[in-house]
């Protein structure tokens, strides 16, 4: 026990020089002749079986006693979740996709020991049919600027020394010993960094008003309640590089004069919680948190709080209520959070991505940072490019890249030769953008002009098989369920809109519905208490604006052109294509399909519940939806 305590005490770095010494010794102690194998251990790859691959590598390395030759690590999310489990090998980063435990002995024998790539595990570019060996050549990665996510594939998030070796905590050391709080804030202001959580508020201004706010006790908060469905970048940062967020928070705390911080993270992200807790403990052990950080005299601690699964808690005042142990209801903001936030004390709340940008800005300077991006939006943004897209995953690009570049060059277009219909950005507060605006540069202001928003970076691609009325209905249902119920426009407005949209998708739409919803949308925009309610009508308003024809088809013709709204479609069997194999009969849970073996089958419409099981099962495309 005494030994353990001593060891802990010894690890605490007492000066910036000690930090540099430690960094140098980690780097020089590293055996660079060892070949690096890194397996993505993010939640996405784990869902595809990465844990078994990690175990297989560990066993194989032990079996062949290759510990001296191989450096093996499980890292955070590499971003290309679609292709998981993803494995990178060697300094040139040979990129293997869909790796299974059975592949491991071959990878070690062929690639690691002999440098030979294994063809079947390589990525094939769908555009050129070319096999690509190295990660840097994969189109998905080639066009990205991975300032924040880059380290995810390099470091083991459970080992603080790897973060230190990669330059970690040097920004903190610089801020504490070479910058005044005012200087830090002016750097952040001049960098042009805007809040990455959705609102896009200038970060420096927030910091400035928090610095000026009166009070001995101030709080620094990290919003990791990433509730936007379809966005998971905050999760990946906390899972893959939690120290970058912690370092940003400590710098922010020093700048505004705070000694206590909180990270509010979703309970739905168990791995992010686990790794953040480990990172906080290690940061404490090494003296980056706690008292007298690096001998500067500055004290700061961070507590982690798990959310209870309410979307509204991503809203600042609701998040604070939840941190105080109350239900997550937003408050009207007569005073700013920077003056009266958590327990009525000045509080500085930033998103995970915003915090992760801070060490970069401090280290590399305003000039460097502000060169990236557009006039009004600086730096990079991380998008989760998902939905009907070939290369789905997390994408980090400079602000200002066009939607088309993102969807076609990085995302590789729409799968199955289907036609692009819309891209939904900004989560439930955002909107759907149609094809004609694909050349719009993506930044905070441009997306807002299109009636959508940046939000926390969700980018969900939809094709011709997606019904825009259904998408609007989905979001309104979601928001109705998540509305805290405190203010009337949000509570009643969303209930009414949901009723109308449900009616339309059931074929009972009325001609006046579109106008009523537009009016309701305006009321919500102007009258709701918090940002969630004020933006809640965006999914409806943007789909009405760009896809009015689809609404009219539902309302007037009682048809769902995309074949999604169940009440408006019918399944039937094409007798010319049906081989009578009987697969659909077995799939049908209501026994609605009948027919003789090897003869065309028929669907009894009275018994059909339109679940689509037959459509999915048929290998001969004989089931027709329409």
């Amino acid at each position: 026990m005494v030994e353990q305590v001593r060891k802990l005490l010894d690890k605490r770095l007492k000066t910036p020089e000690e930090l540099e010494k430690l960094r140098q010794s980690i780097i020089s102690d590293k055996d660079t002749s060892r070949i690096l194998i890194s397996v993505c251990g993010g939640t996405g790859c784990r869902a595809s079986g990465a844990e078994a691959v990690v175990d297989a590598f560990a066993e194989e390395i032990e079996r062949l006693e290759l510990q001296a030759k191989i450096e093996f690590k499980e890292t955070g999310c590499h971003g290309f979740c679609e292709r998981g489990p993803v494995v990178l090998i060697g300094p040139k980063k040979i990129f293997y996709q869909h790796v299974q435990p059975e592949d491991v002995p071959e990878i070690v024998a062929e690639t690691v020991l002999q440098g030979k790539p294994i063809q079947r595990l390589l990525y094939t570019d769908p555009a050129t049919n070319e096999e690509i060996t190295y990660e840097t050549d994969v189109p998905f990665y080639k066009r990205q600027t991975r300032l924040i996510l880059g380290a995810n594939g390099e470091i083991d998030p459970t080992d603080i020394e790897q973060y230190i070796a990669a330059g970690g905590y040097s920004a903190l050391s610089k801020a504490l010993f070479h910058m005044t709080p005012e200087k830090i804030i002016s750097e952040v202001t001049d960098s042009g960094l805007r809040g990455r959580g959705g609102g896009g508020f200038p970060t420096g201004r927030k910091w400035q008003s928090c610095l000026k706010a009166k009070g001995d006790i101030k709080y620094v908060l990290c919003n990791a309640d990433e509730g936007d469905p379809g966005a998971y970048q905050d999760r990946s940062i906390l899972e893959g590089n939690p120290h970058s967020v912690i370092e940003g928070m400590i710098i922010g705390a020093y700048a505004i004069g705070s000694n206590n911080g909180y990270i509010y993270v979703r309970n739905e992200y168990p791995l992010a919680v686990e790794r953040t807790i480990i990172a906080l403990e290690q940061a404490m052990d090494y003296g980056f948190l706690g008292e007298n950080i690096l001998g500067s005299g500055f004290n700061f601690t961070i507590t982690i709080n798990k959310g209870g699964g309410a979307f509204v808690c991503g809203e600042s005042s609701a998040l604070i209520a939840s941190l105080e142990g109350k239900i997550g209801e937003p408050k009207a903001k007569y005073t700013h959070m920077s003056e009266k936030g958590l327990w009525d004390k000045p509080s500085l709340l930033n998103n995970v991505k915003t915090w992760a940008n801070v060490p970069l800005i401090v280290n590399k300077g305003t000039d460097w940072y502000s060169k990236i991006g557009t006039k009004g939006s600086k730096g990079t943004m991380i998008f989760s490019l998902v939905g009907k897209i070939n290369n789905s995953g997390l994408v980090e690009v400079p602000m200002g890249i066009t939607l088309r570049e993102m969807i076609y060059d990085i995302g590789g277009g729409i799968p199955g030769g289907k036609k692009f219909k819309a891209v939904q950005t900004g989560g439930p507060s955002g909107g759907c953008i149609p094809e004609e605006y694909l050349d719009t540069p993506v930044d905070f202001d441009e997306l807002t002009k299109l009636g959508s928003m940046m939000g926390s970076g969700g980018m969900i691609v939809m094709d011709e098989d997606n019904c825009m009325v259904d998408v609007a209905r989905y979001f309104i249902e979601f928001l109705k369920g998540e509305s805290c119920g405190k203010c009337v426009p949000c509570r009643e407005g969303l209930a009414k809109m949901s009723e109308i949209l449900n009616r339309i998708s059931h074929g009972q739409g009325k001609p006046e519905d579109i106008e009523v919803m537009t009016d309701l949308g305006e009321i919500l925009n102007n009258g709701a208490l918090c940002a969630l309610g004020r933006s809640a009508a965006n999914p409806v308003l943007s789909t009405i604006k760009y896809f009015k024809d689809e609404y009219l088809a539902h309302i007037n013709d009682k048809k769902c052109p995309a074949g999604v709204c169940r009440e408006l479609i019918e399944y039937s069997i094409d007798p010319d294509k049906c081989t009578g194999c009987g697969a659909c009969v077995r799939a049908c849970s209501t026994n609605a399909i009948s027919g003789e073996k090897k003869e065309p089958h028929v669907i009894n419409q009275g018994m059909c519940i339109k679940c689509g099981a037959c459509y999915d099962t048929c290998k001969f495309d004989a089931v027709i939806k329409g």
Binding site: A231, Y232, G325
Partner: protein, 165 residues
């Protein structure tokens, strides 16, 4: 309230865990603002939040019962009813929705008589839905007892569930 468990069973479970509950609540005495975390710990222990525990928390931490109850009912993560041996969470985030997540919920309702927030009669499964589990590239996603399953179809779901008794 029909919990599927008889009253004596619940009593026994609680009594045998009384000490554990006390200890857990005790550890939050100095940080009663972390009520949500405490309720999460209780839920992790019992798989739901028993009524007695809500009362006990209110007494020990001196938080009004109404506040403990409102927090326990406001957040989606908490269940006041005992849950089945296995918890199925179907993701209904946008990416999963457009790839057919709802069809999985429909299927569970149809073939297993299991609706969101409910438990099967034999206490085998409870069903929850989530707004987004953050595996958007691999939708539709289903999590069973913490294990993630990706690109799940109604057909595949049947096969997966066979593994859980």
């Amino acid at each position: 309230m029909d919990t599927g468990l008889d009253f004596t069973t619940i009593q026994t479970i609680l009594e045998s865990n009384a000490e554990k509950v006390e200890k857990l609540i005790e550890s939050y005495i100095s940080k009663k603002e972390q009520l949500i975390s405490l309720l999460q710990d209780v839920q992790a222990e019992f798989n739901y939040i028993p009524q007695d525990v809500i009362i006990r928390i209110s007494q020990r931490l001196e938080i009004p019962l109404s506040q403990v109850f409102s927090v326990a009912t406001f957040f989606q993560a908490f269940s006041l009813k005992p849950r089945g041996r296995h918890t199925i969470t179907v993701c209904l985030g946008t990416a999963c929705h457009i790839k057919g997540g709802q069809r999985l919920v429909d299927k569970l309702g149809r073939d297993y008589d299991l609706k969101p927030g409910e438990t099967t009669e034999d206490m085998r499964f409870s069903l929850e839905t989530a707004n987004c589990l953050g595996c958007c590239a691999l939708g539709p996603v289903v999590v069973i007892d913490g294990k993630y399953e990706s690109k799940v179809t109604p057909d595949k779901l049947d096969k997966i569930l066979k593994k859980y008794e």
